[in-house]
């Protein structure tokens, strides 16, 4: 049973560019959440997708957007990259009424130069 799969694992982008990160949830999970983890910090909630709609959003600018597909996979898009966007981006999936049933991927390390 595959867990959460994220791609790519590492990425280097130039300031001002756009980036798309991808996440495939654990089998049976229908909700995908994205987190940003700066170096030495705890993860910060970006947003959550359920039934192809954004259900909750954290305190992130509109440069951060997402999408969820009918197969529950998800993308995180970041436009006009800033140096401060350099971080580990974690995807977590969950499903049904599972309490604490979050399964995390290993993340995408984004470096903006």
């Amino acid at each position: 049973d595959a867990g959460v799969t994220q791609s790519p694992t590492h990425l280097i982008k130039t300031r001002g560019q756009q980036v798309t990160l991808r996440c495939s949830p654990k089998s049976g999970h229908d909700t995908v959440s994205w987190y940003q983890q700066a170096l030495g910090q705890g993860p910060q909630f970006i947003f959550q997708y359920y039934e192809e709609e954004e259900r909750q959003r954290g305190n992130f600018p509109d440069r951060f957007s997402g999408h969820q597909f009918p197969n529950y996979s998800s993308e995180l898009n970041v436009n006009a990259l800033l140096l401060g966007d350099s971080a580990l981006y974690l995807c977590a999936s969950s499903g049904g009424q599972g309490v604490g049933g979050y399964t995390f991927g290993s993340g995408t390390r984004l470096t903006v130069v």
Binding site: D30, T31, S33, Y35, G40, Q41, G42, P43, Q44, F45, Q48, Y50, R55, Q56, G58, L88, L90, A92, S94, G95, G96, Q97, G98, V99, G100, G101, Y102, F104, G105, S106, G107, R109
Partner: protein, 117 residues
């Protein structure tokens, strides 16, 4: 808004010793969930233990147990008989009650735990 605070940036103990990681939180919710996650160098967040705030009994999972003090808003993690594989970053997190599916997690800053041979 929920906040989570971990006041110990780093801890180090010898293998087989017992170690306690501290966490305090603040929330206006009457019911909520608390978690401890482990993040090894592989970067994947792994759930260690969870506690539902309305349950009085402290959660335990093998060598891992919590001391949940609801009035004090404290949620510490005790690791007994520590092993080298316990070396990792540990994050305390809280989540408001579930309405439909999962809600967001609010994480603390983390504690880097090193188990020495």
């Amino acid at each position: 808004a929920q906040t989570v605070t971990q006041s110990q940036p780093e801890m180090s103990v010898q293998e087989a010793e017992t170690v306690t990681l501290s966490c305090t939180y603040d929330t206006s919710e009457n019911n909520y969930y608390l978690f401890w996650y482990k993040q090894p160098p592989s970067r994947q967040m792994i759930l260690v233990i969870r506690q539902e705030a309305y349950k009085q009994q402290n959660a335990t999972e093998n060598r891992f147990s919590v001391n949940f003090q609801k009035a004090a808003k404290s949620f510490s993690l005790k690791i007994s008989d520590s092993q080298l594989g316990d070396t990792a970053m540990y994050f305390c997190a809280s989540s408001p009650p579930l309405i439909q599916g999962a809600q967001k997690l609010v994480f603390g800053q983390g504690t880097r735990l090193t188990i020495n041979p």
